[in-house]
Amino acid sequence: MDAPFVIPEEATASEAIDAIRDELDVFDDWMERYQYIIEMGRKLPPFPPEWCDDAHRVPGCQSQVWLEAREEGGKLYFAGLSDAAIVCGLVALLLRVYSGRSCAEIMNTDPKFLRDLGLVQALSTNRGNGVEAMARAIRSAAAAQTA
């Protein structure tokens, strides 16, 4: 699978969650954590501008978020982008967890890790709901694949 789809760094979704937790723990202040999250967003593979349309848009996000999914070799790969930097960073973290996994693994990875890591709370309530909307979009893509 090639760019813009995200190739997983860790072998499993749960390892990815642990790695993100460790990385976030390094910082003692939220401004530094935001800087890290924004940096993660910058490292996302370039998302094709022609995919920034309503068909790719994730509903329920205050900022604009676009997602695309593709299946290869029994795994689902995701590409994503947001027009807001912090949300883009959260997209990157989500895709690090969910991209390049089997549908079963995606379905078994509860998005509550977003709350456990404080990532929903990193945004105001309205925008935090949007992050969960992204996780739902990813999981429903997996559910559609298995249906």
């Binding site: 807001a84 930097a85 912090i86 949300v87 105001s124 925008r127």
Partner: protein, 417 residues
């Protein structure tokens, strides 16, 4: 004394520290930082005087109004109706009967669109401006689609003022029945030349409505001096509670207009065959009103009037000038609009940083601002923007809070360069 000196004196007369002590919420911390509340244009915080008036009502002097034949009801009716007198005085309305209590400014405008709208004929037109809040746009779109009324939009200049020549042009064919525009923009801070707009409207045979939600907070409002026909505002931006707003309209208009909502309190006689309406203002106040909130609004008006609009306007003018000076030093920051006259509202962008990111990072530092389209999507489109960040000031805002905003913006910008 020069104008600048007068302003300086007024500013010194305003004891902001003492004012802040009357707002319990302002001593809070957010994310372990002192709260810097720069979102008063969305809704202002409430002083003890308002909180106490409302709890006092609920604790000691409360019953339903107008209908009760008992002591508690009579006293509550007196308190409620006294606010009508207060509002009439606040707006310099000729008569207390011209004050209609609504839920907010949105409902007041909807009332006019419904009931004044019912007097209009297909082919007549309503004019709004490009910088209206959705509250002064959607009700007119609904009227247009329901009644075959034409909706015309007066353009704004690059600076963010209503283009008065263009407005005049839109009125030239004599079909316009109403010009409905903001008295102060919630996005650009523009204070519109309401008196001049009223003259232009009247010269073309149109009535004029001003949405005063932002304006009444900052300056003395005089509907007669403005030559207004309709004026609306909401309580919660005026340091009062939510759920209470005001429509003022000339009595002849109110008498000609059919009711908005039907129900109790707005009738004279009722049979199954036919009902007749109560006199104004009660014709437009169906059902049990927001009694406690109305009393809260009365307390808010007393509170701001005790401070005085001269001192409030001078304080906010000084704050706005300070903010514009300081913000000009933030690299990449662009203040949106340079209107001829500006109230304490400043919208801005910073390079291509998303306003949502600006607001989130400010919030983590205790600074509350608004970010988004500010319920004015067509204006955002006109400005070629999808969103802005907006700082807005109130009587309790300190220059030091603006410094915190600016210093934090500089830190945030360093994230992105």
């Amino acid at each position: 004394m020069t104008e600048a000196a007068t302003r300086e004196k007024s500013r010194q007369d305003l004891d902001v520290a003492a004012i802040r002590q009357q707002f319990p919420i302002l001593s809070q911390t957010v994310h372990d930082r002192p709260l810097v509340f720069l979102d008063s244009a969305a809704s202002a915080q409430k002083p003890d005087a308002v909180i106490d008036a409302m709890t006092h009502t609920m604790r000691g002097q409360y019953a339903n109004i107008h209908r009760g034949l008992h002591w508690m009801s009579e006293r509550t009716t007196e308190a409620y109706e006294a606010v009508r007198d207060q509002v009439a005085h606040f707006l310099n309305a000729p008569s207390r009967d011209e004050i209609i209590f609504t839920r907010n400014s949105t409902e007041a405008i909807n009332l006019v669109a419904h009931s004044f709208g019912a007097l209009l004929k297909p082919g007549q037109a309503v004019v709004i401006s490009e910088m209206e809040h959705h509250a002064n746009l959607i009700p007119w779109q609904m009227l247009r689609d329901r009644a075959g009324i034409e909706l015309r939009v007066a353009p704004i200049t690059e600076a963010g003022d209503i283009d008065l020549d263009a407005l005049q042009g839109l009125l030239a064919d004599g079909k316009v029945a109403l010009v409905a525009v903001t008295h102060m923009s919630n996005v650009l801070g523009t204070v519109t030349p309401a008196k001049r707009i009223a003259e232009i409207a009247h010269a073309a045979g149109a009535q004029v409505l001003f949405d005063g939600s932002q304006f009444v907070v900052h300056r003395k409002t005089d509907v007669q001096a403005l030559g207004a026909d309709f004026y609306t505002f909401t309580g919660h931006k005026l340091y009062g509670p939510t759920g209470i707003g005001v429509l003022w309209a000339r009595k002849a208009l109110l008498e000609a207009m059919p009711p908005f909502l039907g129900g109790g309190d707005m009738i004279s006689t009722v049979t199954f065959e036919k009902s007749t309406w109560a006199n104004v203002p009660h014709k437009f106040e169906a059902g049990t009103p927001a009694i406690i909130e109305t009393i809260g609004l009365g307390a808010a008006i007393s509170w701001v009037e005790a401070i005085g609009f001269e001192a409030i306007a001078a304080h906010e003018a000084a704050l706005t000038a300070h903010a514009l000076t300081r913000l000009a030093d933030v690299p990449g920051l662009k203040v949106i609009g340079q209107p001829k006259e500006r109230g304490g509202v400043i919208s801005f962008t910073m390079d291509d940083v998303h306003p949502h990111d600006i607001a989130t990072l400010l919030d983590r530092n205790g600074v509350a601002v608004r970010a988004g389209h500010h319920c004015a999507e067509p204006l955002m489109r006109r400005l070629g923007l999808s969103a802005t960040a907006r700082a807005s000031f109130g009587v309790y805002t300190l220059p030091e809070e603006i410094d915190t905003l600016v210093d934090t913006l500089v830190r945030i910008r360093n994230f992105f360069v």
